[in-house]
């Protein structure tokens, strides 16, 4: 017999309590069937960036973008993205993608690409023999050249795979075969310029040479202020450029730079002729230059010399040629140059904005 003092509750109550407790627990953990749900959401913009995680910590991989490749914004998948345009609307797309691990293996990826240009997949041994070895940032890597058609038409893929630390990097150019072929050397140079922040090369370290820079930061004047026109994108200042802007429309672009030089920087005529030279135009005499230049009053009370030079259109078709719109402002012991370079019609479109911008310039210390 169980001593009664040990049973504060009756047996019946105990079993009931324990039964209900267990049932409750069971229900809690029980099978919550998921159901179809319907809901309204506000209108969305174009699909958002993907959810898969690939981290590109600041500057993990850098490169020198070749001239003529239009850099596209990267997203969480593509650490690098470029558009290359060619004749007759031909296009090629260049992507730099990094994956953790081995991303399924070289063979699987090569076969995936082969599929994309309608080629049959290959077996184990082929990839090792059928390609070139090229240089990505100093490391040898295999290059795969896959043509849809043997005669050079259709699509082509130029791709390289680099295994590095715990990641696999894919560098791929895909597009019209003709364009890709002409861009092959540029692509290879691009690959050579790739640099990883964590690159540690003892040989590099002991070697004393490094490339001579083309720009030496010499700008010393404090920055002027201005009113930035709508639609002008500001880029970081670099080297000689205290201000750098661009106006982009589709794949046409106008580049605007703000540069300061000490002294009179050679004088008006010399600079105008320098710009003329950049457009392959002959130099003008001092008188002619003076005549072609217009004056503009700036908000600060100074005077800017406005120069407008149109270059010759290349070829015989009616596509407009290059144009330089420039402003030269002498202020104290310095001379400021504002220069807009771009396609004639596009520059024309934004000319008044340019003039407004020049007018709005205020130089510290001199008003």
């Amino acid at each position: 017999m169980v001593p009664s003092k040990l049973i504060p509750w009756s047996d019946w109550e105990m079993t009931r309590v324990s039964r209900h407790t267990l049932l409750f627990l069971f229900l809690l953990t029980g099978c919550g069937e998921q159901k179809v749900t319907v809901y309204n959401v506000p209108k969305e913009e174009a699909p958002q960036a993907p959810q898969v995680e690939t981290a590109n910590p600041t500057g993990e991989i850098t490169w020198t973008a070749p001239q003529g490749w239009s850099e596209q914004p990267a997203n969480a998948m593509r650490q690098g993205s470029f558009l290359v345009g060619g004749e007759n609307g031909a296009k090629a797309d260049v992507s730099v993608v990094g994956f953790p691990g081995d991303a399924g293996g070289d063979l699987a990826n090569v076969n995936r690409w082969r599929g994309q240009v309608n080629l049959p997949p290959v077996d184990e041994t082929a990839p090792n023999s059928a390609q070139q070895k090229i240089d990505i940032g100093g490391t040898p890597a295999p290059l795969f050249e896959l043509n849809e058609k043997a005669d050079g038409g259709g699509h082509e893929i130029l791709a390289a795979i680099l295994h590095r630390e715990d990641k696999t990097w894919f560098f791929k150019m895909t597009g019209d075969a003709a364009l890709v072929k002409t861009q092959k050397d540029t692509f290879l140079n691009f690959l050579k310029s790739v640099h990883f922040a964590s690159d540690k090369s003892t040989a590099q370290i002991v070697a004393q040479t490094s490339p001579v820079p083309t720009e030496i930061p010499l700008a010393v004047a404090p920055k002027p202020t201005w009113k930035l026109p709508q639609g002008w994108q500001e880029q970081p200042a670099s080297g000689m450029r205290l201000g750098s802007f661009s106006i982009v429309e589709g794949d046409r672009k106008v580049d605007v730079s703000l540069v300061v030089l000490t002294g009179d920087a050679g004088g008006l005529t010399a600079n105008v002729n320098r710009w003329r030279g950049q457009l392959s135009l002959a130099s003008q005499t001092e008188a002619d230059v003076a005549a072609s230049v217009t004056k503009l009053e700036t908000a600060a009370g100074g005077q800017a010399a406005i120069v407008d030079i149109v270059g010759q259109a290349p070829g015989s078709d009616s596509k407009s040629g290059p144009r330089i719109l420039g402003a030269i402002i002498e202020q104290g012991d310095k001379t400021w140059f504002v220069k807009a370079t771009g396609e004639d019609s596009l520059v024309e479109k934004h000319k008044s904005e340019f003039l407004d911008f020049v007018k709005s310039l205020q130089f510290p210390g001199h008003g």
């Binding site: 540690k200 370290i205 490094s210 820079p213």
Partner: protein, 621 residues
């Protein structure tokens, strides 16, 4: 006969004063080492070592940079130059920074992996230390091997690959140090920067002329370009930032500062100062070197006095080496306690206890110094957790010894203090032990509460285990485990297990709350969280088994020893799994020692499980 009579007469006196004498002797040793000035052969290495620089995100004296760099490359803080003459770490660093050609000849690199040595066609009989000059011809090969090793995922590298990558990293560190003040092949840096200054003026003029389309001096421009690329290299390489700024984040490398000069036209005074030091040192001009150091130091007093206070203190802390001293002290305490069990228990017991208290003061000083220098609670990484475990064990044992007065507390304190400080010493080879804390750990409140509580939990669980070892060893192998001692140990272990349960539980809970505050999840079954939970559960099992009468004295001891295995898994084992949010520590040889420790504990448990009749202490009536 007379002599013996004399000794017998004075014996009581000796006995009375022995503890005092012993403790005073050690105290004198400590004080002397604190106040004695360091010997230096002319160059004021002390003053140079106290100059502040920024490295690894923290402002520290050059002395610390010297010690930690040497530890990383060399595995110990003592090194000799090529004539066999011993160098202090700061002297070695001075050569690396300012006379790199000499430093290249010192055997600074520790290489003991036979496969790596085989790469250079050397073998282990030629020694473990090699100079950069010896390694230089093989740099290409090292480069090749490391490229291959880089390709392999880090968790699947074999020993050779890990070792060659380590060697590569050390060579890089060495080269970075060589290029921290000036480019390593620079012959006379003061002269160089004077030339540079002129070149900036003429080069800028030439650049402007060119931009304006005027005729310009090609040579001037070329010279400036050369300097530019030279200092660009220096900026990239510099691992120390010697150029001070009011804001800690803005201290600059020598290269960055010189590149700035191209824009501003003036050279930062700190660069000028270091250049003077470098030139004087190269020319072996002792008075000029000392003068340059002292001038620079004076100039820092005006704007950077706050930094100087800390770096001076840290420099003093480095020289005092409190934890190294504690290791020696703990060994002496161990011996004294052991002797106290054999002869004159009162005298040697007292001596051991007083020495323990002195050691505790030194240990505490070390701990608090680290806290002040870093501005952080005591435990911030694995190294500091080891220091803290030793300290907490010491404190608890002082209490135990005070209560029980049988030398067990002193002996156990000595064992644990010695072991934890030894572990800490081995953890210091990764570099600066006062490293910056990553963002998610950057909260002093939780570091002071959760981390301290959990570490106290570790310390006390280990303490219970070590006390149990004393019980088993004395009981099985000697006759000294009499009833009184056994009872005393029983109370000690029980009390410590209660303490351990409380603190490990509180610590684990605080960790959960921190996790909830930081990333919304009280508990995620992360390896470190699980490890802490295991300790709580095990301590709870011990207590419940005791309360239920399922175990008595011997069972308690055996279970406490198993607690050592659980705690070592939680403290170190989980770090070796390399997974989860808590993977902040990293070790290489540790798995072997961990397993050895665990096997040793298991063996002791087996011994402890032997039936009482096999215990020497229990076979006596």
């Amino acid at each position: 006969m007379k002599a013996l009579h004399m000794i017998r007469k004075f014996l009581p006196v000796i006995k009375k004063f022995l503890p005092v004498i012993i403790t005073s002797a050690f105290l004198a040793w400590l004080v002397l080492s604190l106040v004695m000035p360091e010997k230096d052969n002319g160059y004021n290495t002390n003053a140079f070592g106290r100059l502040p620089v920024l490295a690894n995100g923290r402002i520290k004296p050059l002395d610390t940079v010297a010690r930690t760099s040497l530890l990383i490359l060399h595995g110990k803080e003592a090194i000799s130059d090529d004539t066999g003459h011993a160098l202090k770490p700061i002297e070695w660093l001075m050569d690396v920074l300012m006379r790199p050609a000499n430093a290249d000849k010192y055997k600074a690199f520790l290489i003991d992996n036979p496969d790596v040595l085989g790469l250079f066609r050397w073998n282990q009989s030629q020694g473990r230390y090699y100079s950069f000059a010896e390694l230089e011809p093989f740099l290409d090969e090292i480069e090749q091997q490391t490229k291959l090793a880089d390709d392999v995922a880090s968790s699947s590298r074999n020993l050779f690959q890990r070792e060659i990558l380590k060697l590569r990293d050390r060579i890089i560190l060495y080269n970075q140090l060589k290029n921290s003040f000036h480019n390593d092949e620079s012959v006379d840096f003061s002269d160089e920067i004077a030339t540079f200054q002129k070149a900036v003026e003429t080069g800028r003029k030439a650049f402007n002329d060119q931009a304006a389309g005027k005729p310009f001096n090609k040579d001037d421009l070329g010279l400036l370009s050369e300097f530019f690329s030279r200092y660009q290299f220096l900026a990239r390489m510099g691992v120390i930032r010697p150029v001070p700024r009011p804001n800690q984040q803005d201290w600059k490398t020598a290269g960055d500062s010189l590149m700035e000069t191209i824009q501003t036209g003036t050279i930062d005074p700190s660069i000028v100062a270091y250049a003077l030091m470098a030139t004087a040192y190269r020319a072996q001009n002792v008075p000029e070197f000392n003068q340059a150091v002292s001038n620079y130091r004076d100039s820092l007093e005006t704007n950077f006095a706050g930094y100087l206070k800390r770096t001076d203190y840290e420099s003093g802390f480095n020289h005092f080496e409190p934890f190294y001293k504690c290791i020696i002290l703990y060994v002496c305490i161990f011996l004294l306690a052991l002797i106290s069990w054999l002869v004159w228990p009162d005298v040697f017991g007292k001596a051991a206890f007083w020495l323990l208290m002195l050691t505790f003061v030194v240990h505490t000083t070390g701990l608090i110094s680290r806290m002040w220098i870093q501005g952080r609670p005591p435990v911030t990484n694995l190294y500091s957790s080891a220091i803290f475990v030793g300290w907490a064990a010491c404190l608890l044992c002082i209490v135990l010894e005070r209560i029980h007065r049988n030398g067990i507390g002193s002996l156990t304190a000595a064992t644990m203090g010695f072991t934890t400080l030894l572990i800490a010493h081995h953890l210091s080879f990764e570099g600066d032990t006062m490293e910056m804390l990553r963002a998610v750990l950057d909260t002093n409140f939780w570091l002071a509460t959760h981390v301290v509580a959990v570490t106290l939990g570790y310390a006390s669980t280990f303490l219970a285990g070590f006390l149990a070892i004393v019980y088993v060893v004395r009981g099985v192998f000697t006759q000294s485990l009499d009833k009184a001692t056994a009872k005393s140990l029983n109370n000690m272990v029980y009390g410590i297990v209660c303490f351990a349960t409380l603190f490990s539980f509180v610590g684990t809970i605080l960790g959960g709350i921190w996790a909830d505050q930081s990333w919304g999840r009280f508990w995620g079954f992360d390896p470190k969280e699980n490890g802490a939970l295991l300790i709580v559960i095990w301590n709870a099992i011990i207590l419940h088994a005791r309360w239920g009468g399922f175990i008595r004295e011997r069972g308690l001891m055996n279970m406490a020893m198993f607690g050592n295995i659980v705690t070592s898994f939680s403290w170190f084992g989980v770090n070796m799994l390399g997974a989860g949010l808590h993977s902040y520590g990293f070790m290489d040889h540790a798995p072997f020692w961990l397993e050895a420790f665990d096997v040793y504990q298991l063996a002791l448990i087996v011994v402890g499980l032997l039936p009482p009749r096999m215990w020497r202490s229990f076979t006596i009536a």
